[in-house]
């Protein structure tokens, strides 16, 4: 069978991140091919490379068995590749027809022949059985219809390969059904569909073949018929387990953090999470498992006061935090390692001395009674972090952006552990970093736990989660569905709970 896409040994590194490592994938012409993986697994980078938005460091791409070398989306479009982005690229105040032809025709001082385009587009719509009123304004369309406009737009430009980036994330169930029907029609008409998702049910419903990515690597490509949801979950999350090292101390009875009946809705009134209650004890690592998008990220952001709560209580060391802002919470002994170090934890164009202050600007160590920053202390502290966490840097005055990802992350973890917090919230603390840095961070977290630190650990890496945690709670669809001792869990079971197979 003819190959629509043949990608061989693609590698792409960003400063500090290995996004794609030696990735190869073969997509058969006329297939619906799904790519699954957690956030940060490298799916988006791979698609951007395929769509010409990003240039790979090395590797080969063949489109319809011809060597391709695209340096911009325009090249990819010419090769017959079309992309429907997760966030639609439509002009709201134009009609569907105008949106579809936008950018195709560039008349100079003459009228666009709308009627000519209209017949052409209607032909395309008939061919692929896609229906929409071309005269309607995009503003008046539902989300599903907007997506259809994007698909027609891409097909009208001659796409034979359609990339859909998380197409169902924005849709309601009925719209998903319609989309899948449309995709099948496309397939029957010879269009190759590349479907990116992390929703396993949907992938199993629609795809012919499924490729799984994890930490920048292509794990495997399997036929839909030969794989179960559990197997997919395992491949996506990783299942080889290290033996958790024996604990030196036991978990303390004392409750450090207690959350009760947390509930939060997004601005559209959809529930992000509800009925969330749990406790973290002194000297305990509580792991939070869940496939991305199931509310766990928002729950920890609610604990530090960034995500607003509709109801529920956050109690830290017997104090209700309701009235306290993020700053007060951080200063009262909660440390936070956000999941994206470059976006949320550091200021990339500032040096390490300045970066060590972030999150602690107002504590006495860094703020004089005059309201000035105590730079000397900041230099000392950053030196301490650099040596304790083996951060490889020319010095404290080096910009954060100049460090590798592992070194940035070691610095962030070191900073957050520096002031002996009572509670550390660590979100994906070792995502996208080298093994050496990962091992060091694991060791530091364990040591701090043994010395009495409570840790709330969120990780997409099940190996890390089971290996580090004392206890694990599982989120599924915004709810806490399971609580288990980490010793008693197999990754298969954990994967089943995370994907809703087991309750």
């Amino acid at each position: 069978m003819k190959l629509a896409i043949n990608i061989e040994n693609i590698t792409k590194t960003y400063p500090g991140v290995l996004a794609n490592s030696d990735v190869s994938i073969k997509v058969k012409s006329g297939d619906i091919h799904a790519i699954v993986g957690e956030n940060g697994a490298g799916k988006s980078t791979l698609m951007k490379i395929l769509y010409g938005m990003v240039k790979p460091d090395s590797g080969n791409i063949e489109i319809f068995e011809n060597k391709a070398n695209m340096s911009s989306p325009k090249d990819s479009i010419n090769l017959g590749i079309g992309m429907v982005h997760q966030h639609f690229m439509l002009a709201k105040n134009l009609t569907v027809l105008e949106n579809i032809i936008l950018g195709i025709d560039r008349p100079f001082l003459k009228n666009i022949k709308l009627s000519k385009y209209k017949t052409e587009i209607q032909k395309v719509m008939e061919l692929y059985s896609l229906n929409i009123d071309l005269n309607q304004y995009v503003d008046e369309l539902s989300v599903g219809e907007k997506q259809r406009v994007e698909i027609i737009k891409v097909l009208y430009r001659g796409a034979k390969i359609l990339i859909l980036d998380e197409p169902t994330a924005v849709l309601v169930p009925q719209e998903v059904k319609d989309l899948f029907k449309n995709l099948k029609d496309l397939k029957n008409n010879g269009v190759t569909v590349l479907f990116i998702s992390h929703k396993l049910d949907e992938v199993l419903e629609i795809a012919d073949e499924i490729s799984v990515m994890r930490s920048g690597q292509m794990i495997d490509t399997v036929l839909n018929d030969n794989v179960s949801k559990t197997q997919l979950a395992e491949m996506m999350i990783g299942k080889s387990l290290p033996t958790p090292p024996a604990r030196l101390t036991s978990t303390d009875e004392e409750v450090i953090l207690k959350v009760e009946n947390l509930k939060s809705n997004d601005e559209n009134g959809r529930t992000i999470f509800e009925d969330v209650s749990f406790e973290v004890h002194k000297s305990e690592i509580l792991g939070i498992a869940g496939v991305e998008g199931n509310g766990q990220k928002e729950v920890v952001e609610a604990i530090i006061g960034i995500q607003a709560l509709d109801s529920g209580k956050v109690i830290f060391k017997n104090n209700d935090l309701e009235k306290q802002g993020t700053r007060e919470r951080l200063e009262s002994g909660i440390s936070f390692i956000p999941e994206d170090r470059q976006l949320q934890a550091m200021i990339m164009e500032m040096d390490l001395t300045n970066n060590v202050i972030i999150g602690r600007q107002n504590i006495k160590k860094y703020k004089s009674s005059l309201g000035t920053v105590k730079m000397k202390n900041a230099v000392n502290e950053s030196e301490k972090v650099i040596s304790a966490f083996e951060v490889k840097t020319p010095g404290t005055s080096t910009l954060a952006t100049a460090l590798s990802g592992g070194n940035q992350q070691k610095f962030v973890v070191g900073r957050e552990l520096e002031d002996d917090p009572s509670l550390l919230i660590a979100s994906q603390p070792t995502r996208g970093i080298d093994i050496g840095a990962q091992a060091l961070i694991w060791e530091k977290l364990r040591n701090s736990r043994d010395e009495g630190l409570s840790v709330l650990l969120i990780s997409a890496d099940l190996e890390e989660l089971i290996g580090l945690s004392d206890r694990i709670i599982v989120f599924y669809q915004g709810k806490l569905v399971k609580e288990i001792e980490a010793e008693n869990i197999t990754p298969e079971d954990l994967g089943s709970y995370m994907t809703g197979l087991k309750k």
């Binding site: 200021i347 972030i358 600007q361 860094y366 000035t372 920053v373 590798s404």
Partner: protein, 359 residues
């Protein structure tokens, strides 16, 4: 930052200056004027004693205006409303300051406080609108400029107009002697020249205060990290809404001082020919000086020099608009080169850091 990076940073404005002189020369050649002669006349006129005093006087409000803009820039906030803010502040301060007389230092301090309070209040409206109603500050401050201009025109002819004046045009009552800032001519021993505004001292202090506020205090730290990465700033516990309002009020407060150099040193009252446009000029100076107190001082002096020295051009049959083109060239080119140099420095640091990792 290391010394070699500092040296590299300074090269940007020098390159920009050279290129813009080149472009201006080209234009002069096209219109048939001799660039060398033109620049020579400008330079010779610009360094006369009288010109130098005028340049410094001009640069005082430009500099303070740049600082007002820079406070906002530092946190990624675009206060385009310095114009309206300083005019409002100057008018109200001129009016209230003329109502009574106390000893000079107190009187001047009082006028300063009134101006700062009025301007920051006017700026706070934009802060409130952004935080509570989500209106972008560029839109609201531009609109507030229009509203302010209208309000000033109306109130100057009605409420603030000098009573029983035999002067045709509306103007506030003259400040009493105690409310006038003495010139610095005696101090510099240049009593034969025109007045060197005493507000120069305040401008220098404002520059020092701005530096302290932005680079030394925790508030300044919060401003800077919000400017470079608002998301990380939020995760670090900063309340972005509160900071927007604080920054807007601070920026407006500096704006209040912009009009006081001319008011206290020369005009001594608010009239309809009170200098306008300083708020907009400040944006350019802030860009040129990269929001740095020293850089902006050099920028303000440079622009004041160009403005002053261009005045001789008309007499020599060269259109003096060439000066405005030069200012624009400098700004455009300097922005490009700052970015080029920023990238160069990051690249060098990455190189240094990877060398360190290989060891």
């Amino acid at each position: 930052m290391k010394m070699r990076f500092r040296l590299v940073s300074v090269s940007a404005p020098i390159i920009a200056l050279t290129i813009s002189f080149g472009l201006s020369s080209l234009i002069l050649l096209i219109i048939g004027k001799d660039p060398y002669e033109t620049f020579k006349i400008m330079f010779e006129y610009g360094i006369r004693g009288k010109s130098i005093v005028s340049i410094i006087n001009r640069s005082i409000p430009l500099y303070i205006s740049a600082i007002a803009v820079a406070v906002g820039f530092k946190m990624g906030l675009f206060n385009i409303g310095v114009e309206g803010q300083y005019l409002m502040g100057s008018l109200v301060a001129a009016y209230i300051g003329a109502q009574f007389s106390i000893i000079t230092p107190l009187h001047i301090l009082f006028i300063i406080i009134v101006a700062v309070a009025t301007s920051s209040l006017w700026a706070a409206i934009a802060g409130y609108l952004k935080v509570e109603k989500g209106i972008h500050e560029v839109i609201s401050t531009i609109m507030l400029n229009y509203i302010g201009t209208g309000l000033i025109a109306y109130s100057l002819t009605t409420i603030f107009d000098e009573p029983n004046s035999n002067y045709d045009l509306p103007r506030t009552k003259e400040l009493p002697e105690t409310g006038k800032m003495p010139p610095l001519n005696k101090f510099f021993n240049i009593e034969d020249l025109q007045d060197l505004h005493g507000f120069l001292v305040i401008a220098v202090l404002v520059g020092i205060f701005y530096y302290w506020l932005v680079w030394k205090t925790t508030l300044g730290f919060d401003l800077r990290i919000t400017g470079s990465n608002p998301i990380a700033a939020k995760f670090s516990g900063i309340n972005p809404n509160k900071l927007v309002v604080i920054a807007m009020i601070t920026s407006g407060g500096f704006a209040g001082l912009v009009g006081l150099g001319p008011l206290l040193g020369y005009f001594h009252r608010y009239t309809i020919d009170f200098p306008t446009g300083l708020g907009f000029a400040g944006i350019g100076v802030a860009l040129l000086g990269r929001n740095h107190p020293f850089g902006m001082a050099v920028g303000a002096l440079l622009f004041a020099f160009l403005q002053r020295s261009a005045q001789i051009l008309d007499l020599n049959d060269v259109p003096k608009e060439i000066e405005q083109m030069m200012q624009a060239f400098i700004l455009l080119i300097v922005v490009v080169f700052y970015e080029v140099i920023r990238r160069f420095i990051v690249k060098q640091q990455v190189k240094d850091a990877s060398k360190r990792s290989d060891e």
